[in-house]
Symmetry: C2
């Protein structure tokens, strides 16, 4: 039984990650995940619609957190700073779960269908961020491009973070990606 979180949902997430790591995603059934977590298969499906979703438990919270931060950002802040600050806040909430994130990233990278689902979640995050920016009066194309860039710095920053040592924070990695992006566009013709 996992010790990461005391509730059934948390135990299912931890058990799924352990089994996907040990045996592979395709080779693990929802029943096996439930058994390791000490609950029934029916309980698994009360929490998660399918075997993939157990790895994307946090994506709804991530999305609502980012949208909330964008909506509540100070007026007159530049769109790309608004969206990057929102991503950094999300990164700070994820910082304590670094070991989980590292293990989860390895499982996702090893399976094409999980990678597809991850990209779909990031695309939904981009669309929601664009909608929230547009709701603040940012014109549509600017809102879309700022959101896309925010998701890029989050995605590339995440990869940097899970590949770096524990002394480097996720928020720092996002900051480094944004600086890189600024330098790249400033050097363009």
């Amino acid at each position: 039984m996992g010790r990461w979180k005391p509730d059934a949902r948390g135990r299912l997430m931890q058990s799924a990650l352990e089994l996907f790591t040990e045996r592979g995603f395709e080779q693990t059934t929802a029943l096996e995940v439930a058994q390791r977590a000490g609950v029934t298969e029916r309980t698994f499906f009360r929490y998660f619609s399918d075997k993939r979703e157990v790895l994307f438990e946090g994506s709804g919270e991530l999305l609502s957190g980012v949208v909330g931060a964008i909506t509540g950002a100070p007026v007159n802040m530049a769109p790309i700073d608004i969206v990057t600050a929102a991503m950094q806040e999300a990164a700070e909430r994820m910082e304590p779960n670094r070991p989980y994130s590292i293990q989860r990233a390895a499982v996702v990278a090893a399976n094409a269908s999980l990678h597809e689902r991850e990209l779909l979640k990031l695309d939904a995050l981009s669309a929601a961020a664009a909608h929230a920016l547009h709701g603040r009066g940012v014109p549509e194309l600017a809102a879309t491009m700022a959101a896309e860039s925010g998701v890029s710095v989050f995605k590339v920053g995440f990869d940097t973070w899970v590949g770096a040592g524990p002394e480097v924070t996720f928020a720092q990695c996002i900051h480094a990606c944004l600086d890189e992006l600024k330098g790249l566009t400033a050097a363009a013709q």
Copy 2:
């Protein structure tokens, strides 16, 4: 029988798009696509590994075109200009197929599994572009962020193009997205 291209592959692509538009992607079988194209189901699977892939026929060519353009770009060109120029070249090749692209975009938008596959192809394009830039000596993080931005301007530019009138070219839409991105990053703190 489709009249878009005279060969079996082209007829299968056109027939698939027609049927997916008329009946929906889920409601159409590979056999039905083959029959409308005037070939056997076996011929369908000689060209395409599954029903989704018939809509992604051009993605290999897109990827190799972009990689080729990046590799062959002039020395001392800024990374983001290299990747954007490569995307614009690809856009110019796609320009004559605007009616096909518009219809295809509607089919992809209507089905989550097609949307996932599209995002996976764009992610592979980003990874290949980053690899090609890195091969020219661009440091890894810069190469990755430039490639991500190049794919963003391609993706958002594509959506703008298919939503605009025929007087607006895909390459122009990409240019407008890049200008927007430059303005956004220049205004950042």
